[in-house]
């Protein structure tokens, strides 16, 4: 059994996720700084359960949750935007494997043709990571981040399924179980 798994967050994860999302290391390059109370986080998690345009997971290592991944579907569900962060600093050694698990899931199991990521221009670490995985630059969102601590452009990047399939074969071994949605109709992509 894989030691890495991806599970759906529940209301019981609200405090954990709020703690992660409030860390300066995590929030630095996010579009917003996170200030909402726990009750709002719980309500948001519950509202996400019925959204058809958005899904998310928690990454786990040996059952311990360490990171967050989200995906926002485009019309037709052949392409999507996505993002992730490592919440548990002690698990940053696994940070660069999480995208590989994600690409193998969405390209080989869900059949997406491309994924997109918006990355803050000063976030050179993630830009380097994505470009090393075959992303191409496809746009720029001027002042895509405009908050008290940071104003900067977002770079829009695109990774095509065929690029991942053809050029990154050594990384195709990163496979893990991804928990499906609990709502059956939504799990079918309705």
């Amino acid at each position: 059994m894989s030691t890495v798994t991806f599970v759906r967050p529940t209301r019981d994860d609200a405090a954990l996720m709020l703690g992660w999302r409030s860390q300066p290391r995590v929030t630095e390059f996010m579009k917003t700084d996170f200030t909402q109370p726990l009750e709002a986080q719980v309500a948001w998690l519950e509202a996400c359960e019925t959204r058809t345009d958005y899904e998310h997971w928690l990454a786990c290592y040996k059952g311990e949750k360490f990171g967050f991944i989200n995906i926002s579907w485009h019309d037709g569900r052949r392409e999507a935007d996505w993002g992730y962060y490592i919440g548990e600093e002690s698990r940053t050694l696994l940070g660069a494997t999480v995208p590989a698990y994600f690409y193998n899931h969405v390209f080989f199991e869900l059949g997406l043709s491309a994924v997109y990521a918006n990355v803050a221009e000063p976030n050179v670490g993630v830009l380097r990571l994505h470009r090393s995985h075959g992303y191409e630059d496809v746009g720029r969102i001027e002042k895509g981040i405009d908050k008290p601590a940071l104003t900067c452009d977002l770079l829009r990047l695109r990774l095509a399924a065929e690029t991942w399939a053809e050029n990154f074969k050594p990384l195709h071994r990163y496979r893990a179980p991804w928990e499906p949605r609990r709502t059956p109709a939504l799990a079918a992509g309705a």
């Binding site: 290592y61 490592i86 940053t92 050694l93 696994l94 660069a96």
Partner: protein, 78 residues
């Protein structure tokens, strides 16, 4: 230092763009300059190429310093 460990150290110093005589005992994830999660995967890939092995995710998750990299090579019989 054995030839194996000399080769292993070279992987670290070349990947992390460190001086070739960088002390092996000072190599530690997130503390050694340049050793971030992306560089970590580059080190893993270079070790797999050089020593002909395939590391599992547990080994990737635990290889936080040079000594642990040596232990992984030992485990693989390198």
């Amino acid at each position: 230092m054995s030839q194996r460990d000399t080769d292993l150290l070279a992987i670290f110093t070349e990947t992390l763009k460190l001086p070739s005589d960088y002390p092996a005992g000072d190599l530690e994830f997130a503390k050694t300059p340049g050793w971030d999660s992306l560089a970590h995967m580059s080190i893993v890939a270079a070790m797999e190429d050089k020593f002909g092995l395939m590391m599992d995710v547990d080994e990737i998750a635990e290889m936080s310093n040079f000594a642990k990299a040596q232990e992984i090579l030992d485990k693989h019989g390198v």
